[in-house]
Symmetry: C2
Subunit: 228 residues, 2 copies
């Protein structure tokens, strides 16, 4: 299954364990970096919160001021991401619903572009652990629900908003996954747009791959009912 | 966020604690029913595996022969559901991709129709617990991945198959949620078809709700690019 995206906007890749002041600037970022290092080197299951705190140069108490558990440390930016998606959808010019929903993701995706290496490492750790995958799916679900609420606040009926948000989320997650795993140079923003276009094509039944195999060419103009 | 569907095909609603033979017919079904009763009455967190086993009239050892943990007992039919979806997609007549993917769900959805009360109770328990919601999302993700694999086996390119499977899953899950929460009499199969049609409409930008609000009527014929 696809991995999915989370900005860790508050995190940084630099571990500066030597410089531990009582004020602890960016303690959260140090814990994220420390946790990822440890999950990669000694495994997620074998890493304790004490390990992470020690490596980041903080106390366990500080850890729990920032994160509820060992999983949350890999989802540090999820709430910020939800907030930003909601802000984007609120100020967006009127447009076709799916385009608006996708554009909200595109606008926040820009912050990911410079963090590909970090996000790839993070995605590999998550892919290797069902508990982390579950948490990621919950965050993605929560993000999609936020986007849907943002559209409802603009007057879109609830089910229509949910469908548009879910489709945009499919485009976002698929593009994010491809961006992290494919060796190509295509940027995330471009990939999201590309997948969204392909999604529309699949939904409109005008995919060239399908058209080539379709035994009933007439149906491309007029999609059949979904139920059999 | 939406709840999502799992058949508990092996379960039954009847608890017959008095009749516990060594052979234990439908022990799995009894454990599912017992767990759901306990999760509803004393809460998911407060229920132990020993409680479930005792209520179902089995040993804890029997519990662990069937389920890996306290969560899995609510997802007893998930693997069967995956297998059935794969079987359906394998034998399906050629058709537009999203229609095929949706039709695979429609065909397995028929088994849910008679179990609405049970599935509603189950959905309420899951909605109330983040751990259960995470597990449900993982199962849904796995189901969508299976459907995608089934289409790849028919020669569909991987990304296209993933997109079609994800869109069909959105339709299925949205319809399932509506079916369990709305008081209406519309059947699940009909709801899936309806949501799939709405999804296509959202993707094609021809939603009547949208058209009424759209300030640029020309864009309905020719959807704009997704990225801004």
């Amino acid at each position: 299954m696809m991995t999915s995206p989370y900005t860790l906007m508050s995190s940084c890749d630099i571990s500066y364990r030597e410089v531990v002041s009582r004020w602890e600037p960016d303690a959260s970022g140090r814990m994220v970096a420390a946790a990822l290092d440890l999950y990669e080197t000694q495994g997620y299951e074998s890493t304790t919160i004490a390990d992470i705190a020690a490596r980041a140069g903080v106390t366990e108490r500080t850890f729990f001021r920032h994160f509820s558990d060992k999983r949350e440390v890999l989802f540090a930016g999820a709430k910020d991401l939800e907030t930003r998606v909601l802000e984007e959808i609120a100020v967006m010019d009127e447009a076709p619903l799916l385009d608006m929903a996708t554009a909200a993701y595109v606008r926040v995706a820009i912050v990911f572009e410079s963090r590909r290496d970090f996000l790839s490492r993070r995605a590999r750790v998550i892919a290797g652990n069902p508990n982390l995958r579950e948490r990621e799916l919950l965050k993605t679900s929560s993000l999609s629900a936020a986007l849907s609420r943002g559209m409802v606040a603009r007057g879109v009926p609830a089910t229509t908003a949910a469908i548009a948000a879910e489709c945009a989320t499919v485009a976002f997650v698929t593009a994010f996954d491809r961006w992290l795993t494919d060796p190509g140079d295509t940027g995330l923003v471009q990939l999201i747009a590309g997948v969204a276009t392909e999604l529309k094509s699949v939904a409109a039944n005008s995919s060239p791959e399908h058209a080539a195999r379709n035994s009933n060419p007439g149906s491309e103009q007029e999609p059949a009912a979904a139920a059999d």
